[in-house]
Structures are given as structure tokens and as C-alpha cells.
């Protein structure tokens, strides 16, 4: 029966390939049904598995960790395209297994959706779980965030492998107490950076101790609810970090971890946290320092994550924001930039966006500086327009263009620096529209523009 299922799966993959279709999810979905939801358990994996989960940063961290092992000469299997649900992981393994379901590799490095950690790793033995952060993101798909954390916490109760946790996120760090017998819990931590604040700056959740309900005390907030916290009553937050990022200077940018100084390409605090997680993993698996160096210093992102475009002679920077934290980050970068600028905000409410758009009300638009005009677009173009207007921005300077090509043309119709924020399903259509404009009106689209 198992062989038959794998055979069917493999045939589907082949057929999709012949049709030049991406075999990302479909074979897994079919197998998931014929195996009565136990698709992943059909595979035999003898090598160690590292899983990376969390709301923000999964793709970056997964790619970097994959590179650590690749450059160390290991044969790895990883889901680079980000098919991170159980069906996506199943499709990936189908492509790499033999007819008996054996997966041959030295290492599996799997980006895994937060809500799918328990289901996938109750069927596959996990060596290391890395949890980056939990933010309000697509709440209605996953139920409330607390339910999600409870789910992963339930998994951690019986997990005795390596657990690498963001020690500066109370939502994440609490998982370290799920299994008191697990001696392999390791926290990463970052010291205060220049833009850290004493008071919370952006809306957030999880501000109370999950163990005793006492309000958590913060020495500093790096961004949102990430920072050095401690429960004054029960001491939650007192831990010895496994690795600490210090001397963070984002102007250069540079930071030190475990006595070693790194010069990453990306200059955000979010990247420092991601790379500290990567460094923690490298330390755990004894990766050569020169390899870790090269991975962390070369890592950069494309695909609508701080990607630059030239619209004629006008520079535009596109950033994906699937939650308030991401959007606030772009607004900060935009504000820190001198001179006048214009913003295009593209907001969709498709299924993968979580159908709901109310998260835009947790974005702090009141910090707008030297923003001379706002264009809005997407299936919920008016929602974002109303939101920006109610933050006190002059509605006469807001232009709504639900059609993306019209919105890009509108944005490019004036001189000056442009910023573009697009949410999850909006980001690829927005990139395409920016490229179409560039192709028609001269200009280029590359990350070095």
C-alpha cells in the first residue's frame, strides 16, 4: 500500500513536470488524502532534520542554514520555494525519495509553517527546532495566536531535541519551559541597539507573563514586543543566552556574536535577529567559522523584500509587509531617509492574506515624515486609504487606484523617491506591475539599482 501511494505520488510529480507545472503542493495534497492525512509518515528519513518556524524570518533563516551545510559539503534537502505546509513538505520528500520512501540526504532543512509543526514532526523525528518569533499574522487562518502557541507548546512538551528559541520574544521563550526535562533548550538574545526604546512603540500582544499573568517588565524594546523582558513575579525571562548579538551598529552594518564580528548586507534589527539564529545553529552543529562568516555577510533578499526598481529615473523600493511589524519597519526606514518621498500601499484580502485587513490599524502612520503623497491600490485600496486618513494625513494627498498598473503610473507621474508596501498576495503582482512600467518607460529592475 505504501509503495503504491509513493508510486502514485511520483507519477503525479512527473506528469506535472511534463506539463511544465510547478509540483509544489499538489502531489502532497493528493497523497495526503489517499494516505488518510498521514502522508508524511510514509517517508523514512535517517538523517537529522532541522525545522525553522515563526511568523517572520523563516525563509531567510532557512536559506542561510541550508547554505551553512551546503558549503560544508553536505547533501541537503530544503524547501527553498517556501512550500512550508505538511502537503508542501510531502511533495518535497516525494521528489527526493526512492520507491521504498527512503529519503537520501545528509541533512533536511525545512521551513515549516507555525501551525504545521506538530502534525509534521509527530511523523518525522526532529533533531532541532528553531522558533524565531510569534506576531499577530493572519489570525483568522490559524485561530487566535494563543491557540497557535499552545499547539507548538504541546509538541514541545514531549520534544527532547535541540530547541533554539528567540529569548527576546516572550511568546517564543515560553516554549523553553514546555518540557522541564529537555536539557537542549538554547536561547538567542540581542543587546540594545540604537533605535531601541524604553517604552513600547508599536502595537503588540503577549505583554503579560504566560505563567503567572503579571505584566512583564522590559529593560528595552528593540521593536514591537521583542526586547529584554523579565517577569518580576516568577522570573520568566531569566536565562543564560546560548549566543548573544552585541555591538549592533546598523549604520555600518555590523554586530558581534560569540566573540566574532559579522558584517551583514542588510541593515535592519530584524536581520540581526535572523542571523543570530543562524549563528546559533552554526555553533550547535560545529560549522567552520569561515563558512558562517561567508553566509551571514553575503545574505541578501530579493522577491519584494526591500527590492529596488527604477521607474524611468525615479527610484522605488518595494517591501513586503504581511503584518504590522513588517509595515512599521518599512515606515521606519522610509522616515529615516532624508528628503521628500511618496508611498504606494497595495493591500489585498485574498485567502492567503487571511481575508481580513484590520491589521493595518496596528500600523503607526502618525510617524509619517516628509511624505508628500500616498497612492493606494489592491482589492482593499479604500481600506488603507481610510486608515491613513484617520491617522491625520491630509485626504487631499491620498489617491486611490485599485488597478495596479494605474497605481504604478500614478506613483511614477511625479518626481522624487518612492516607497512601495505590498502585503502577501499583493507583492508578486506589484513587482510585475513595477517591471511592466520600467519596461515601457525605461528604467531597470534589480536590487542594486
Amino acid at each position: 500500500m505504501k509503495r503504491l501511494q509513493i508510486l502514485i505520488g511520483k507519477i503525479i510529480v512527473k506528469m506535472l513536470r511534463l506539463l511544465h507545472r510547478n509540483a509544489g503542493n499538489l502531489p502532497g495534497i493528493i497523497l495526503w488524502h489517499i494516505s488518510r492525512h498521514k502522508a508524511v509518515s510514509m517517508f523514512r528519513v535517517d538523517c537529522p532534520i532541522i525545522a525553522i518556524t515563526g511568523t517572520n524570518g523563516k525563509t531567510s533563516v532557512t536559506n542561510c542554514i541550508a547554505q551553512l551545510f551546503e558549503k560544508s559539503g553536505k547533501k541537503i534537502i530544503t524547501n527553498r520555494e517556501g512550500n512550508n505546509l505538511d502537503t508542501g513538505i510531502c511533495s518535497l520528500l516525494l521528489r527526493h525519495c526512492d520507491m521504498k520512501g527512503r529519503v537520501k540526504a545528509d541533512m533536511l532543512i525545512l521551513e515549516t509553517d507555525e501551525s504545521h509543526v506538530p502534525v509534521v514532526y509527530s511523523q518525522l523525528k526532529l533533531d532541532t527546532l528553531i522558533v524565531l518569533d510569534f506576531f499577530r499574522d493572519q489570525l483568522d487562518r490559524n485561530g487566535e495566536m494563543e491557540t497557535l502557541i499552545q499547539k507548538i507548546n504541546g509538541f514541545c512538551k514531549t520534544f527532547d531535541g535541540n530547541l533554539i528559541l528567540n529569548g527576546d520574544d516572550p511568546n517564543t521563550a515560553r516554549l523553553g519551559r514546555a518540557n522541564p526535562d529537555n536539557r537542549n533548550v538554547k536561547y538567542f538574545h540581542a543587546e540594545r541597539y540604537a533605535f531601541a526604546t524604553d517604552k513600547i512603540f508599536e502595537a503588540s500582544e503577549g505583554r503579560f507573563c504566560p505563567f503567572c499573568g503579571e505584566p512583564l517588565e522590559y529593560e528595552y524594546y528593540q521593536y514591537s514586543h521583542i526586547g529584554k523582558f523579565r517577569c518580576p513575579k516568577c522570573g520568566f525571562g531569566d536565562y543564560e543566552p546560548y549566543i548573544t548579538a552585541s555591538g549592533i551598529d546598523l549604520e555600518k552594518p555590523v554586530f558581534t556574536a560569540d566573540g566574532h564580528t559579522y558584517s551583514p548586507k542588510l541593515n535592519s534589527i530584524y536581520n540581526v535577529y535572523n542571523m543570530t539564529a543562524v549563528a546559533a545553529c552554526a555553533k550547535l552543529y560545529g560549522i567552520e567559522q569561515r563558512i558562517t562568516d561567508s553566509v551571514i555577510s553575503k545574505y541578501t533578499v530579493k522577491n519584494g523584500r526591500m527590492e529596488n526598481f527604477m521607474l524611468g529615473d525615479r527610484k522605488a523600493t518595494l517591501n513586503l509587509a504581511k503584518n504590522p511589524v513588517g509595515a512599521n519597519m518599512t515606515l521606519r526606514v522610509m522616515n529615516e531617509m532624508k528628503g521628500e518621498k511618496e508611498l504606494l500601499f497595495v493591500l489585498n484580502d485574498n485567502i492567503a492574506d487571511g481575508l481580513d485587513v484590520s491589521w493595518i490599524w496596528d500600523i503607526n502612520f502618525s510617524i509619517f515624515e516628509r511624505v508628500t503623497r500616498v497612492v493606494t491600490s489592491g482589492t482593499r485600496a479604500y481600506d488603507i486609504a481610510v486608515r491613513i486618513k484617520c491617522s491625520g494625513y491630509d485626504p487631499a494627498k491620498i489617491v486611490v487606484r485599485p488597478d495596479l498598473d494605474e497605481a504604478v503610473a500614478e506613483l511614477a507621474s511625479t518626481e522624487g523617491r518612492k516607497f512601495v508596501i505590498a502585503n502577501y498576495t499583493a507583492v508578486q503582482p506589484t513587482r510585475a506591475a513595477l517591471k511592466r512600467y520600467a519596461a515601457k518607460h525605461g528604467g531597470e529592475s534589480n536590487e542594486n539599482a
Partner: protein, 247 residues
């Protein structure tokens, strides 16, 4: 200059789906009319406020865990809130705030969180956490004698029963219970609803109803609120109403 005083309770704990945005909208719409809008915050262990000194008390929604945390504290405020409500202070309650004013809220594990008992409805969450009422919702409500369509987003496990005077009739979505006819709870000085979005962002009539109620409270000659530019809000509603109510 007219002043409108709002007490926003548990803003740091009950704030789902942009509920905090409702206060930004109240301030915005007051400000456009030269009405001063003061929003004070109250949370666990704040000094006990004089609830009756406020024109409006606002409570948003939160996850089960947060509701458990505040329930005991809310009980301490019971007397003050009841007095204020009876004297005509407006209560604007979203989701968790709505549930906590009823008799009780029983969560998915069977734990009972005691409500303030101000109204005699009660809420029970189904034992399966998967059964939730999630999605866009449109209701028809009577706002100041006018039938108004109200658009929002609902996400609640709790099924609220025993409501005698609902806020509106469901045109699209679930309402108080899965696939129910009615949504929310209404009295002349109470709007309790599951609508997030935040609720007021697409429904300026609801905001204006409350502002009008508050500024005219105790006045011999009620004044009409000046009209303000709601073009973006109108378009925003139209997009959603066309999409959801199109047969």
C-alpha cells in the same frame, strides 16, 4: 468647545483586529467638528476611576487567556460601571468586551469566566476550537431611526445566546451564533457587537450616533453634528457591500 470623555478599558490586553483603531476614529471624527475628545485608559491595577464622569466606556476584544486575566479585575469595577450605565454613560463593546458584560463566558475547555451580568445574555464556546465564526459580515441596524448596513469582520468561537434586543439583522456572515439571524446587543446607550475591522472604520454612522448621543446628553436642545467628508469611507463600504451582497 464641547468635550467628549471616553474611558478605554484594558486597551493593552483587549485589542484584536484593529479594535484600538475605533478610538483613533472617534478622535478623528470629533476633531473634524471641533469637539474635544479625551480618551483615558484603564487597565488592571490602575487607580479606580470615576466611571460616571465618562460619556462613553469602550472595551475591545481579546483572546481567551487575556479575558481570563481581566475578568477578576472587571468585577472590581462592577459597581462603578453599573452606576455609570444607569446614569446614561454609553457602553461601546466589541467581541470580548461584549461577552464579558453578559452573565458568563464558557470557553472551549469548559472553564467559566464570570461576566459582569449587566445584561442577561451568555456565551458558550464549542468544545472544538475549529468551529469558529470567521469572515466578513454585513448587518442591517436601526441607527437613529434609519436602517443602515454595517460592515465588519467577525472571528469568535463563543456563541452568544439569550439576546432580547440585538444590534442588527444578519445579511451576510454569522452573527451572535453560527448562521444566526441576529447580531450584537443594543440599547439606546449600548452597542455591543462582534464586528471588528475596526468596526467604526467603515461605518461612520455608528461613530456619529455615539458622538451625537454623548454631546447631546443632558442638553435641552440637541444639536445636529456637522457633516464631514466621508468619500473614502463611502467607497470603501461600497466595494465590500457590492462584493458580499451581490446575489
Amino acid at each position: 468647545m464641547k468635550t467628549l470623555k471616553i474611558l478605554h478599558m484594558y486597551a493593552d490586553m483587549l485589542d484584536l483586529y484593529g479594535d484600538g483603531g475605533n478610538m483613533e476614529i472617534m478622535k478623528y471624527r470629533c476633531g473634524k467638528r471641533g469637539i474635544e475628545c479625551i480618551v483615558d485608559k484603564y487597565s488592571i491595577d490602575s487607580e479606580m476611576p470615576d466611571f460616571s464622569a465618562y460619556d462613553l466606556i469602550y472595551i475591545g476584544g481579546g483572546a481567551d487567556l487575556e479575558q481570563q486575566h481581566i475578568s477578576a479585575d472587571l468585577m472590581k469595577c462592577r459597581e462603578g460601571i453599573v452606576k455609570a450605565y444607569e446614569a446614561g454613560t454609553f457602553l461601546f463593546l466589541i467581541c470580548g468586551g461584549y461577552q464579558l458584560m453578559g452573565k458568563y463566558y464558557r470557553d472551549a475547555d469548559g472553564n467559566e469566566i464570570k461576566g459582569l451580568g449587566l445584561f442577561d445574555y451568555f456565551t458558550v464556546a464549542p468544545s472544538s476550537r475549529k468551529l469558529r465564526c470567521i469572515g466578513n459580515i454585513v448587518i442591517s441596524a436601526d441607527i437613529g431611526g434609519k436602517a443602515v448596513k454595517i460592515v465588519g469582520f467577525e472571528n469568535h468561537g463563543g456563541q452568544t445566546q439569550g439576546v432580547k434586543t440585538p444590534f442588527g439583522r444578519v445579511l451576510y456572515g454569522n452573527g451572535n451564533c453560527a448562521k444566526s439571524k441576529c447580531e450584537g446587543y443594543f440599547e439606546k446607550n449600548v452597542i455591543a457587537t462582534y464586528l471588528h475591522g475596526p468596526c467604526l472604520s467603515k461605518n461612520p454612522e455608528v461613530a456619529d450616533y455615539m458622538i451625537s448621543y454623548c454631546v447631546n446628553r443632558g442638553e435641552a436642545e440637541p444639536v445636529k453634528l456637522a457633516a464631514i467628508d466621508d468619500e473614502l469611507e463611502k467607497q470603501c463600504r461600497k466595494v465590500m457591500l457590492d462584493r458580499l451582497l451581490k446575489k
